[in-house]
């Protein structure tokens, strides 16, 4: 079997990390702007997976089964659905609590998460049981040197994540919306005085974050082809931890944290399954104790 520290684990870790990165970005963007741990974010990922699943059966006849067109349609619909649910969640549940104590929003977020999960589980045409995710694109292994392979799925996961992240970087750095987002995350009141429609920026942030989680849901469905209504809980938590590790509120930090998390989890699981289950929380606790602001996060101090 050889050492567990081999190239194959790194490849697997990067693949997993790409999915975490897409989820973590939404967490970190929302946190950066409204200082809310959006507990329901993992569920947007689940919604993405189910939307892609539904899209496959809906468009099977038109698009002639699997293939790139199907994958593209599934991706777009998954992103759209998750983005819209995120938008709706923000409007109905979080916005009314914007200026209330932070914990009210957090508890509401827990409620929203529960609501989405159990609603999916309770709806007769979805149900609580596992479903096999269709093979939208075939997985072909490509040899990487002596004893490692990279599958086409891994390439897609890493590739799609990279493209979306580059897109996000351009959006944040070079567009009016991106500038407004940065302004709001720095100082909401000042942004308001500068004439920025803060609520609109927040809405866009939720929408983009949700869409990214939706994309992650599709990729996860293809890669680990089993979906169920509670599938978002653990990846959501781990992506959140990745965001904290990188420095919550910091976009490159979330990506960095996610890849560290992906690789760490892959290695830990290869070593021992209990360790694999616990590594994320171990990382969280260590980070919060040693460097609560995360790797790239800036130091904040409350003025007294």
């Amino acid at each position: 079997m050889g050492s567990i520290f081999n190239l194959q684990q790194v490849v697997n870790g990067l693949q997993l990390g790409s999915i975490y990165a897409l989820i973590a970005l939404g967490y970190t963007m929302v946190y950066g702007i409204v200082r809310l741990i959006n507990f329901a974010h993992g569920d947007f990922y689940m919604i993405g997976a189910y939307t892609a699943y539904g899209a496959f059966f809906l468009f099977n006849a038109v698009l002639g089964g699997s293939g790139l067109p199907m994958a593209a349609v599934a991706l777009v619909l998954a992103m759209l659905a998750s983005g819209l649910v995120a938008l709706l969640t923000n409007r109905l549940a979080y916005r009314p609590l914007r200026y209330k104590p932070k914990l009210s929003s957090l508890i509401t977020a827990i409620g929203v998460s529960m609501l989405i999960e159990y609603l999916f589980s309770a709806l007769p045409f979805i149900g609580p049981s596992f479903r096999a995710f269709p093979e939208i694109l075939p997985s072909v292994p490509i040899k990487l040197g002596q004893n490692a392979t990279i599958s086409t799925h891994a390439l897609i996961d890493i590739g799609v994540a990279a493209v979306l992240m580059i897109g996000l970087t351009i959006l944040v750095r070079h567009t009016t919306l991106g500038k407004a987002m940065r302004a709001v995350s720095q100082d909401k009141d000042a942004a308001k005085l500068m004439g920025i429609d803060v609520e609109k920026v927040i809405a866009w942030t939720f929408m983009i974050g949700g869409a990214f989680a939706g994309a992650a849901g599709l990729l996860a469905g293809m890669t680990y082809p089993r979906i169920f209504p509670f599938m978002g809980i653990l990846p959501g938590l781990k992506a959140f931890i990745a965001a904290v590790l990188g420095g919550i509120g910091n976009i490159p930090g979330a990506v960095l944290g996610a890849y560290i998390m992906g690789v760490a989890e892959t290695f830990a699981t290869a070593y021992n399954s209990l360790l694999g289950e616990g590594i994320a929380f171990a990382i969280l606790i260590v980070v919060l104790l040693v460097r609560p602001r995360g790797i790239l996060g800036e130091k904040h101090a409350d003025k007294i």
Binding site: A93, L103, G111, M114, P124, P128, A280, F281
Partner: protein
């Protein structure tokens, strides 16, 4: 001569006990008794969580992790005793000791978790306690000696109505007496403004650890009673979602109001059972495909609606008369 104050809490508990005994004679069946028992277990869990989340104003999302420790520790002890000699009646003292042992174990875990995490605040603390709760559960899921993923089976049914009621009474009385004491005042000051509390000389960290330990202790007792009611301790009984259920009780009753927690524990336990049976009879009547998870959907909605429209819950921070200890000189 001073007339001793009426111990109203004891009177109410005794009245409740007597009422149930009477009702037992006229058709209060085992199912109803089970609901009463379950409600009382939730009273213990909710009131102990309220000490942490309400009185001292921290935020724990891992309360069921403590309950799990209590359940597994006490369950392991009693199954062992029971195997040695299956005479149930002879084992009540042992059962009580096992429960206390479970509580102490949970408190120790609470302290171990409290020290590193309690300097965190609000949402961070919530996530870390959630993480710890899940770690505790995962650990039990992986210990074969307590059944691993199958759970700890064959726990004797020692949790009778009287025992559960007695422990619920003790829990409520102790936490009330602490909340209404100088220590409780210190804790509330920490909730109200931690920095100011620090700067009037309150050892805020020490209090947080103590409150965590005490809350965990009673949660451990509650978990032990729960396991001896259902005769099983299973990792899934102590998942995050059940911690949220207890949290909902605390918020529905009003964070900071022990009275509220007691009322909400009863109301929501009964409501859950009503919803479950109501939904299933609706299902068999209409043939509609309404699965068992709808009641959780309603729970979630309830939580959201409370946060949106009535953050203070049923009671706010108010207490019923019998939960207030009057000061000596104001009659």
């Amino acid at each position: 001569m001073k007339i001793p104050r009426t111990p109203w809490l004891l009177v109410v508990a005794a009245g409740f006990w007597a009422a149930v005994q009477l009702l037992r004679l006229v058709g209060f069946n085992d199912y109803y008794l089970f609901i009463a028992n379950l409600s009382l277990v939730y009273v213990i869990l909710a009131v102990s969580l309220n000490l942490i989340n309400g009185i001292i104003g921290q935020f724990s999302l891992g309360h069921m992790g403590f309950a799990a420790v209590g359940a597994y520790v006490s369950g392991s002890i009693t199954t062992l005793i029971f195997k040695l000699s299956p005479n149930v009646a002879a084992h009540y003292p042992g059962f009580v000791l096992a429960l206390v042992a479970g509580g102490v174990a949970a408190a120790l875990v609470g302290v171990a978790i409290g020290f590193p995490t309690l300097r965190l605040k609000g949402d961070y603390l919530a996530i870390v306690t959630l993480g710890f709760g899940e770690i505790i559960r995962t650990v039990f899921n992986n210990i074969d000696a307590v059944g691993g993923p199958r759970g700890l089976l064959g726990i004797p049914k020692f949790s009778t109505f009287t025992v559960i009621l007695a422990f619920a009474l003790i829990t409520v009385a102790v936490i009330r007496n602490i909340a209404e004491s100088a220590h409780g005042r210190n804790m509330i000051a920490i909730r109200e403004n931690e920095l100011a509390a620090d700067l009037v000389g309150i050892d805020t960290t020490g209090y947080k650890v103590k409150a965590f330990a005490l809350g965990a202790f009673f949660a451990g007792i509650g978990g032990g009673l729960y396991a001896h009611l259902l005769q099983i301790a299973h990792p899934t009984q102590f998942g995050f979602i059940y911690s949220v259920q207890v949290l909902i009780m605390v918020y529905a009753g009003g964070v900071g109001s022990l009275t509220g927690s007691v009322l909400a524990a009863f109301a929501l336990t009964i409501l859950t059972q009503l919803l479950k049976s109501g939904l299933s009879s609706l299902k068999s009547l209409t043939g509609l495909p309404i699965g068992g998870d709808w009641y959780m959907v309603l729970y979630a909605l309830l939580l959201i609606l409370i946060m949106l429209y009535r953050t203070e819950g049923l009671m706010g921070t108010r207490e019923a008369k019998l939960m207030v200890i009057p000061e000596e000189d104001d009659k």
